[in-house]
């Protein structure tokens, strides 16, 4: 099945990418946008989704500085 993993900087940890993007927006004519955070998106085919938690902790995310969220197709 197809799985999607969202990896984002942990709360309270510096997110220089998000900050820099946010600061660039007004010059591009965008307003009313805030709390920009930039993370990673991993998508994959997996036979046994039970492995994913472990995979994220050990390989895909850096648990010291990132949180992850596993999304599986409904049903």
């Amino acid at each position: 099945m197809k799985a999607r993993i969202l990896i984002r900087p942990k709360q309270g940890i510096l997110d220089p990418q998000g900050q820099t993007v946010e600061r660039a927006l007004p010059a591009l004519g965008f307003s009313g946008i805030s709390e920009v955070s930039v993370g990673r998106l991993v998508e994959l085919e997996v036979d046994d989704p039970a492995q994913l938690e472990d995979l994220c902790e050990r390989l895909l995310a850096n648990p010291l500085i990132e949180d992850f969220e596993i999304q599986l197709p409904e049903g």
């Binding site: 990418q17 820099t20 993007v21 660039a24 010059a27």
Partner: protein
């Protein structure tokens, strides 16, 4: 002749570009916030990590006010050279074809490479011989030039490939060993390796000087009609 070198927050090679340009002409920095080019005759968009390379290299810098002026200057046929991050900025801005992806190795790689000059009818290669090899350092993490098949075929057909990595020396996985390309008109050139770091034998090579000397050659800065 005056050459302007753009400076973004996070530019790193602008001082070296100024020094290289000064070897052949007058050179001055153009702050990213300005909306004109101070009347310079040629523009270099230098290397570095504009805006930290955050999001994608060049993605934010291409919207600097100065880039609007650079685009207009380029449309008028003015000579523009993008080096490394400058190449990325010009691709993001649509002034050059293709895009620059992370190196295949996913690592930053700094090494001296040989470049083959494929096209000499640009304002930045007029002083080179066709097929000539230049020893120039290359240093980047996102230098894998990419375009879809159709664009690539078109670019090859139009002679828009300006530099290729010498056989076996492609450091990043670029398509067709492409190290540098030019715009359809030929006046905008971008390349990943750093000619401004190859202008003194003391520091390894002076081959890069040819790019800067080219822009002085007669006719090279005249708008291509």
């Amino acid at each position: 002749m005056r050459i302007g070198v753009v400076r973004f927050p996070g530019s790193c090679d602008e001082a070296d570009a100024i020094a290289a340009a000064s070897a052949v002409a007058e050179a001055e920095l153009l702050w990213h916030g300005r909306t004109d080019l101070d009347g310079v005759d040629a523009v270099v968009v230098p290397g570095g990590f504009s805006y930290g390379d955050y999001l994608r290299p060049g993605a934010i810098a291409r919207y600097s006010p100065v880039m609007t002026a650079v685009a207009a200057f380029a449309a008028d046929g003015g000579p523009v050279l993008g080096i490394c991050n400058g190449f990325q900025v010009l691709c993001e801005a649509g002034l050059l074809p293709g895009a620059l992806l992370p190196n295949n190795s996913l690592r930053f790689i700094c090494r001296q490479v040989d470049l083959t000059v494929e096209r000499t009818t640009t304002p930045w290669t007029a002083a080179c011989e066709a097929g000539e090899q230049l020893s120039i350092p290359s240093k980047h993490a996102n230098g894998r030039w990419y375009a879809d098949d159709q664009t690539l075929a078109q670019i090859e057909a139009n002679g828009q490939v300006v530099f290729r990595y010498a056989p076996g020396q492609n450091p990043n996985g670029s398509l067709a060993d492409i190290a540098g390309v030019c715009s359809e008109q030929g006046n905008v050139v971008g390349l990943m390796p750093h000619p401004e770091h190859a202008v003194d034998l003391l520091t390894g090579s002076a081959d890069g000087l040819k790019l800067f000397a080219s822009v002085l050659e007669e006719g090279s800065s005249v708008p291509v009609s």
